[in-house]
């Protein structure tokens, strides 16, 4: 049996790996929701083309709760960017405040989304409407939870002193994913809640 004596690979430092990888992950997540929303739009068009209403009888999707969630997430875009800016200026106190506010707004959005589900009274087994709406909104909640875990991890790393004004890629990466999550919600807000 031939054995190969492998010379040690040269140490490679790739620039901004986490940031670029997060961008790809964000783009993949975005495409997942775009495809799901495309299916939703197609199904809705087909149902409306038959002369029927899209939502089943008795189902009402209220708008105040989606509006509140959307506004909360828009505010969180500001706070997460505030965290990035604070870290970039070595302002750790403001960074932690911004991280905390961002996570609190994310948690508030989760609570409001579950409340919205109870208000809709939409049966998941009642037809294609329930399946699609719950798939997309629950999928977004999962994306929100992933973004919150990402932000929390980066906040802990910042707490450990791993990020400063010279190197804060992790925080920027978390912010990119957070922005993508909010952008996806903007699409959901328009397509599912506003133009219903």
């Amino acid at each position: 049996m031939t054995t190969h004596l492998l010379p040690p690979a040269p140490p490679v430092e790739r620039p901004r790996v986490l940031l670029v990888a997060t961008s790809f992950a964000a783009a993949a997540s975005f495409m997942l929701f775009v495809a799901a929303l495309g299916v939703y739009l197609l199904a809705r068009t087909e149902v409306i083309a038959t002369g029927s209403a899209w939502l089943p009888q008795g189902v009402v999707i209220p708008l105040p709760q989606p509006n509140t969630i959307f506004m909360t997430l828009l505010l969180s875009v500001v706070t997460i960017q505030w965290a990035v800016n604070a870290i970039a200026h070595n302002d750790r106190q403001n960074a932690f405040l911004a991280f905390g506010l961002t996570l609190a707004m994310g948690a508030a959005s989760i609570v409001m989304t579950t409340y919205l589900w109870t208000l809709m009274k939409l049966d998941v087994a009642g037809g294609v409407q329930g399946v699609l709406i719950y798939t997309i909104t629950a999928g977004h909640m999962i994306m929100l939870i992933v973004a919150m875990v990402f932000v929390a991890l980066m906040a802990l790393r910042a707490l450990g002193g791993q990020f400063d004004s010279r190197q804060h890629d992790g925080v920027t990466a978390a912010a990119i994913y957070w922005h993508t999550m909010v952008f996806v919600y903007a699409l959901i807000w328009i397509i599912i809640y506003v133009t219903k």
Partner: protein, 278 residues
């Protein structure tokens, strides 16, 4: 001396993908839309604000793809992917280290093209098994190609890189190729045997087995036979079996007698066919 390029390779790819998706989105919106031409043009251009967008799924998909690829193009140009100056900066040298070019022949692009063709044929003819098989082959190619690309740049020694690649791929390649080969022979030859007459099927089975045995004996006796010749023989045999299988499937199966368990009169009927078409 390596010089910095204004537009990096990955940026070009994703920017091109973005432009393609925009054009494709508008095109699919116009061609699948209904109504006057002006409405069919205005709708896709205005993201549905001033008219319909035709097929909603296709239009949404292409617009989303354009947004995602545009975003990635922006990120990658901002961080100067594969830029010699940026790479030299991170490894603390004056110029980027020279990367050895890959050695050996790579059949994977040709296989990818073949899988794509079969995928499109499967979609066009509604042949589900062909579409699924093409996707499975494409997934395998993606895995092997990724592994090969990694191995080609694992060390600075090309020979060691090849050894590394084979150390990973051979334990996977041998059983997979064996299963595929057995499947091709079994499915292709069985179609032929079910089509021709009973006597001819016995002759064909015997002759094919004999031919297979003789070729294996010759290859074993002449180990110095070039690898290319062996590869060509295997490919020709595979094509012959697949072509014969397809032709036999199109011709249909012969009438096969089924005997009842109680010894009643034989009932002539067509044997249940294995789905070859849709």
């Amino acid at each position: 001396m390596l010089t910095t390029r204004m537009f990096t390779p990955a940026f070009k790819f994703f920017a091109g993908l973005c432009v393609f998706a925009v054009v494709a989105g508008v095109a699919v919106g116009i061609t699948s839309g209904e109504g006057a031409l002006v409405d069919r043009v205005l709708g896709p251009i205005s993201l549905g604000w001033k008219g319909g967008v035709g097929n909603h799924f296709a239009y949404t998909f292409f617009v989303g793809l354009a947004a995602a690829s545009g975003f990635l193009a922006g990120i990658l140009i901002a961080f100067r992917d594969a830029d010699p100056a940026a790479q030299a900066q991170v490894v603390h040298t004056e110029s980027a280290p020279v990367v050895p070019a890959p050695v050996g022949v790579n059949y994977l692009p040709a296989l990818t093209a073949l899988a794509t063709v079969f995928f499109l044929i499967g979609l066009a003819t509604g042949t589900r098994w062909m579409t699924i098989s093409a996707i499975a082959v494409a997934v395998c190619i993606a895995f092997v190609w990724t592994l090969r690309t990694w191995a080609e740049h694992a060390t600075g020694d090309a020979g060691a890189n090849i050894g590394l690649y084979h150390r990973f791929i051979d334990p996977l390649r041998v059983p997979v190729i064996s299963i595929v080969t057995v499947a091709i022979i079994a499915i292709g030859l069985s179609r032929v045997l079910l089509t021709v007459s009973k006597t001819a099927s016995v002759w064909i089975f015997g002759l094919v087995a004999l031919l297979f045995f003789l070729v294996c004996v010759l290859l074993a006796l002449k180990p110095q036979v070039s690898k290319v010749l062996t590869t060509v023989l295997v490919i020709l045999a595979a094509i012959a079996i697949i072509a014969a299988g397809i032709a036999a499937a199109l011709a249909g199966e012969r009438e096969i007698e089924h005997h009842s368990s109680e010894g009643a009169a034989a009932v002539a009927s067509s044997a249940p066919s294995i789905g070859v078409g849709a």
